[in-house]
Amino acid sequence: MCDFSEKLVAWLDHELSFEEAAELERHLEGCLECRSGVDAYKRASSELSAYCDEILESQARRGTSRLVLAAATIGAAAAVVALILALPRTRVERSALHRVQAAAAASPAIVAKGMPAVAKPIQKVHRRHAATPVQNQGANDAAAPGQASFALPEEPAIQIAIPADEMFPPGAIPEGMHFVADLTIAADGSAERLRLSPQLAAVERSTNQP
């Protein structure tokens, strides 16, 4: 190995004194080994500098990508929250008509009050007629504008005709005696109050006649 090889790096880094540098430069003119060494050290220094730059840039890119990922995640979460908040939050009230319809659908013999032409409230209902199709007066009224079909009734809105044989043993009820049951339906569709009113069919007929 050449004696000057130990000074090549220092010469490249301008760390040699003026005299030492001049001596080395004279030597380099005739020493192929030292010239190749200088070239190799120059390349290594250049590559090392590029390596350091690449490490720094990679770290910066990694930090940026982390920031972008975090920003994207936060943005997506914010969008989901905004979407949830923007959804209509009005409570859909079930109209009285719907409640009546639901109650009527659940009962085999519910008739709306005020529809005597179709289902007479005072009427003997035999067992075989217990499953008479529900007459929905509210649905007919709904077609007429301005009526209170969708308003909550202030008093019991329906009457239920129940066969007397369903409640009393045979013979316990005198002939011609009927009961009118007034049922109050609660908001959730359940029966809130049931009131039975005994009536005589003959008296009813006579009082109904003009």
């Binding site: 130990e6 000074k7 880094d13 090392l48 490490i55």
Partner: protein, 179 residues
């Protein structure tokens, strides 16, 4: 030596010129400091913290009437010591960044050249990791543009030792990388 050396040879009288000069100083020295610390093995966040602390210490040092000689060497020494403190505090040894630190998103135009570039850096990283800590630190400080005297002040060794250490380190790297 890197061409940054000439730019970083700061006339110290500039520091007394006000905030704009301090901003210029920060702009010139921030990247070399970050590069040294990251290549030393600190994470990007850690390096940022250390650099900010170093400049904060510089501000205090100057405000307290400290010496304005060789501010660049002073900053590197402070940053180097802080990195050492972190090393001791967290009981870990810094080494050259692993191959995973290089994401391969280089500036090469073709994928083939990018792969070759990444392979070259992988070999360099391997060679640097095989160096002793003083050799690695001397080499990285040299790549940051510091003179041998400054490197000696940062690490705490004699200039002649820096000379020998740098020569030995650069030969090892050149041999390992066949450059």
């Amino acid at each position: 030596m890197s061409g940054d050396a000439a730019n970083l040879a700061l006339p110290l009288s500039r520091l007394s010129a006000g905030t704009s000069e301090a901003t210029t100083l920060y702009r010139e020295l921030r990247k070399p400091l970050l590069r040294y610390l990251v290549c030393l093995g600190l994470s990007s966040d850690e390096a940022q913290d250390v650099v900010q602390d170093a400049f904060l210490n510089l501000h205090r040092h100057l405000a307290a009437g400290g010496s304005q000689e060789n501010i660049r060497g002073w900053l590197f020494r402070v940053a180097h010591n802080q990195a050492r403190n972190r090393q001791n505090r967290y009981d870990r040894n810094f080494s050259a960044p692993s191959d995973e630190e290089i994401d391969g998103a280089s500036h090469e135009e073709t994928p083939e050249r990018a792969v070759l570039e990444k392979e070259k850096f992988r070999q360099l990283g391997k060679a640097i990791r095989l160096l002793t800590p003083p050799e690695r630190e001397c080499l990285l400080l040299r790549a940051a543009g510091l003179r041998y005297r400054e490197i000696g002040e940062v690490i705490g060794i004699a200039t002649s030792t820096v000379n020998d250490t740098v020569a030995r380190a650069i030969k090892k790297v050149a041999d390992k990388c066949n450059v």
